[in-house]
């Protein structure tokens, strides 16, 4: 009888562990906090729902993640801190960072479009060349303003 109780207990614990593992995997959390890449920053006028741990990609391939998001108190721009994989050592100075959406209702991520500049981006550099998220309300506002002025 004892072995039955023991196995039920073990099964429940295994179930909880599986749920915890799934939750960690889905949320992208990791206990492995070792710095494996270098940090670069990008300034956006609107990030529209981008959050820490969001993907950073080049041509759809994951090359890093968003570590932190702060607000620049001088020009009120969102400063996105990204950790880029050490192997991606070819980001040019004219790289354009844009906030995009995965699918129609998917998560926001940062897409990097690499340019042709001679100079490369190094640790701590800021990408000023960005394309912010398109906000539907702003677009509608502009269309209405155009109609009003015509």
């Amino acid at each position: 009888m004892k072995w039955l109780e023991f196995s039920v207990g073990a099964f429940v614990i295994a179930g909880f562990l599986a749920i915890a593992f799934l939750a960690l995997k889905v949320s992208g959390l990791s206990f492995d906090d070792r710095q494996q890449g270098y940090t670069v920053y990008a300034k956006f006028s609107n990030i529209s729902g981008l959050s820490p741990r969001a993907k950073v990609s080049v041509a759809g391939v994951n090359v890093g993640k968003v570590v932190n998001i702060t607000l620049d108190d001088f020009d009120y721009l969102a400063v996105v801190e990204m950790e880029i994989d050490q192997t991606v050592d070819y980001l040019t100075f004219d790289t354009i960072a844009s906030v995009q959406t995965e699918g129609v209702l998917g998560e926001k991520y940062v897409a990097l479009s690499i340019g042709g500049d001679e100079e490369l981006i190094g640790p701590g550099d800021i990408i000023e060349n960005t394309q912010s998220a398109v906000v539907l309300e702003e677009l509608i506002g502009k269309v209405l303003a155009n109609f009003a002025s015509d």
Binding site: S45, F74, Y90, G116, E128, T130, Q131, V134, K142
Partner: protein
């Protein structure tokens, strides 16, 4: 001993000359570059009303002259070409001839891009009829940065301004040159880069063909805008 002292004098003079030179160049702040150019452009487009119907080329020539001083066309064009103008691609080319052809492509595209941009910009500018512009202050530590963004609001006849963000970068001599511009949140360089990439796909990877057809692409944009304006 005397020689050593003299030698140090020379070294010190050199250091002061070099360090003294760069602030002279850097003293024209990115904000002032934007302000001065905008003022000149607004004056030019006002004056152009009198002659543009008879002699549009005269207006283009004035804008061209002005823009040559403040836009880093080569840098801008390379940014538009993106990966097709990258150092990696250049290094991977096997022969000297290939490398020469690569450089020639960049030079040729810079010229095409310059002509297209000036024409599109001049036409757009004239049609826009901006009346005044306000430029936001920039952070004082701009001299220590490699690139700076300057925000500006241009007013037409209404009170609703158009928001522009100029991306400037210091060249080797410390002069701030325009590298890209964002108009109402739309990154112009990004659009041109996408346009270049689509053209490469369309021409099955033939960069020379893309460059040959580029000016017509810019003209078609201008034509479309003209039709729209009518």
């Amino acid at each position: 001993m005397l020689f050593t002292r003299q030698y140090w004098h020379v070294v010190l003079v050199c250091i002061f000359t070099v360090s003294g030179l760069s602030p002279v160049y850097a003293s024209i702040s990115p904000k002032k570059v934007v302000d001065d150019t905008t003022a000149k452009v607004l004056t030019l487009s006002k004056e152009a009303k009198a002659y543009i119907d008879d002699d549009p080329q005269r207006f283009y020539a004035h804008i061209d002259e002005l823009m040559n001083e403040v836009i880093d066309f080569k840098g801008f064009a390379r940014s538009v070409m993106g990966k097709y103008a990258s150092r990696k691609r250049y290094d991977s080319l096997p022969t000297v001839e290939d490398k020469k052809a690569f450089k020639a492509q960049i030079t040729r595209f810079t010229e095409k891009f310059r002509t297209g941009l000036i024409q599109t910009y001049a036409k757009g500018l004239f049609a826009f009829e901006g009346t005044r512009a306000e430029t936001d202050p920039i952070a004082e530590d701009y001299a220590s940065k490699r690139s700076v963004t300057v925000a500006q609001r241009i007013y037409k006849n209404t009170d609703v301004p158009f928001l522009l963000h100029y991306k400037l970068r210091a060249d080797k001599r410390g002069n701030w040159k325009l590298r890209n511009v964002t108009i109402e949140g739309i990154n112009v360089g990004y659009i041109y880069r996408s346009q270049f990439e689509s053209a490469v796909k369309e021409h099955k990877g033939d960069i020379d063909k893309v460059i040959d057809n580029w000016s017509s692409a810019a003209t078609s944009v201008a034509k479309a805008k003209k039709v729209e304006a009518k």
